[in-house]
Symmetry: C2
Subunit: 113 residues, 2 copies
């Protein structure tokens, strides 16, 4: 169920972005879709997964080949506009963690649905 | 909004556990609460946060001081029972990523709610 590309070599990097949304959409949904689409075109992009609960609390985890790829994406001009709007109106709070993925394994159940 | 203890020194470690639940509770909720409570008593525990959508897709991220702390928790006998039941009936699939958190920063908006 992970939205990580398959056959990715370790180590790679993850950005854990946990956030609390403000109330109301205010253009957030459209920008989020746009950023997800733009992010996928960046060098070193390996995957992304997002979860948000009805309370507005959520997390987006994006995966990258190198720290330099993460820096490039953070400084992308269109992404910077999104980041500024995020601080101004879409997020009550957020936290960013840049991580090196050192070990990874998966489990898939064959018999139940 | 992150459930990480404050003033944690870098680097520390994160376990990203993404999963797709099977249908129905089957004792999952009670065990999940019990594991969250037991995990918090383990050596090196720094925090935990969970998000699950109505589709059954979700993620739990736990934070630890060292890789050894993660190994100890994984091999805890009560936790092992939970892991076995998870594979047998609670999870359609899951993926585990063990990560070293190298950089972390937070944002808190003062003016909007």
């Amino acid at each position: 169920m992970s939205a990580l590309l398959s056959n990715v070599e370790l180590p790679y990097y993850a950005v854990i972005f946990t956030s609390q949304r403000t109330i109301g959409d205010q253009g957030y949904g459209q920008m989020a879709d746009q950023m997800e689409s733009l992010g996928q075109d960046q060098a070193g992009f390996l995957g992304i997964e997002s979860y948000r609960e009805s309370s507005g609390a959520g997390v987006t985890i994006s995966y990258w080949k190198t720290l330099e790829d993460i820096r490039q994406w953070k400084s992308n001009p269109v992404h910077q506009i999104a980041q500024d709007r995020g601080k101004a109106k879409w997020y009550q709070s957020y936290s960013v963690k840049v991580c090196k993925v050192e070990r990874a394994y998966d489990f898939e159940h064959e018999d139940i649905e």
